[in-house]
Amino acid sequence: MADKKVVIYSTPTCPICKRTKEYLTEKGVQYTDLNVAGSKELTKEMIDKSGQMSVPVIIIDDQVVVGFNQGKIDKLLS
């Protein structure tokens, strides 16, 4: 698990983003949290990588997870 690179694009007002981050923390996963609110660069980066304008977007290595999809996150982390 330690060698996976996990990035989450989120906004500070998004409850489900918070839940996703808490879930990752509980699992002992280290992640980079990128706040897209008000950042054109990060918003563009998120859209380029995922085609998504809805948060959270989670990138595990180069795999994209849209929303708090626990099943998919578990699978990609294992």
Partner: protein, 304 residues
């Protein structure tokens, strides 16, 4: 085979699970997520015991309380079919797995209502969103449309006028939300309100670029250039699993009596999916608890 199957993991389902465990019922919780609509709720100031708590934090507390008990949980899969069997009920997941129980409680809640216009599904997550508090900040400095005329739409518009370049509020009817919110909106410089306008379609290439609206009186159409469309037109009950064999009201809510019983013996329902008035966390949790206690009595009657 379980004694009890709970379908749905929001406040009603989680309260039901805790009560079921305390009655020592062999319980299975099936849900696509834990928390349901509370996951989309930022601040809660009316759940007893907490003067203020965030949605995800309250759900974590519910979940850790539930996890003190030996409850079988299948989280992440969607129940695609629920049926009555000779011995009780059977749920089938989208993956094909099947689960049986003697009694069942439906706590599947509600989901955002869709407009059902061209472009909506295609652009969901690509400019179309049903969670304004989540995705609002993504559209900082952009032009957006908010569709709806009730409190959720007005709140979304109020949040967005602060950060968006321009906000178009499009309502099929006159505004139906609180006067206080309407008054607050009226001072905004970067806002247009289109009353009695129908949203006809959402357009774009890979992402949303505009929305076409039609004046219901004059029939005149116009295109508004926006990159975000916030749809806030209410909620619909997740009652498809029991449609056709359990009594529903006109809104599609499961009809329950004061003992949480549906029209099918052994099948109970609680929370936002039901016709119980007032969709509140505390009401849903209370109804979930009551449904289990009633289901427990039903099980006792079966065994004597």
């Amino acid at each position: 085979m379980s004694d009890l199957m709970i379908i749905g993991g929001g406040p009603a389902g989680l309260a039901a699970a805790v009560y079921a465990a305390r009655k020592q019922l062999k319980t299975l919780l099936l849900s696509k997520d834990i928390g349901g609509q509370v996951n989309l709720t930022l601040g809660i100031e009316n759940y007893l015991g907490y003067q203020f708590i965030e949605g995800p934090e309250l759900i974590d507390k519910f979940q850790s309380q539930m996890n003190q008990f030996p409850i079988d949980q299948k989280i992440g899969g969607k129940v695609s079919r629920l049926e009555k069997t000779t011995k009780g009920f059977q749920a089938t997941l989208a993956s094909g797995e099947k689960y049986q129980s003697t009694v069942a409680i439906l706590t599947t809640g509600k989901r955002p209502r869709k407009l059902n216009v061209p472009g909506e599904t295609e652009f969901t997550g690509r400019g179309v969103t049903y969670c304004a508090i989540c995705d609002g900040p993504v559209f900082t400095g952009q032009r957006v449309a908010v569709v709806g005329g009730g409190n959720s739409a007005l709140e979304a518009a109020l949040d967005m006028v602060k950060i968006a370049e321009y906000v178009n509020l499009i309502s099929l009817t006159p505004l139906t939300g609180d006067t206080l919110l309407i008054e607050r909106l009226k001072g905004s410089q970067n806002l247009s309100i289109f009353l009695e306008h129908e949203t006809e379609r959402i357009e774009g290439d890979t992402l949303v670029s505009g929305i076409v609206i039609k004046d219901r009186k004059s029939g005149k159409r116009q295109k508004l250039e926006v990159s975000g469309v916030f749809i806030e037109i209410g909620l619909v009950p997740n009652s498809e699993l029991v449609k056709g064999w359990v009594e529903l009201n006109q809104q599609g809510e499961v009809i329950v009596n004061c003992a949480s019983e549906t029209s099918v013996p052994g099948l109970y329902a609680a929370g936002d999916v039901t016709n119980v008035p007032e969709k509140q966390i505390v009401v849903a949790a209370g109804e979930g608890a009551k449904a289990v206690l009633q289901a427990h009595r039903y099980l006792q009657r079966l065994t004597v």
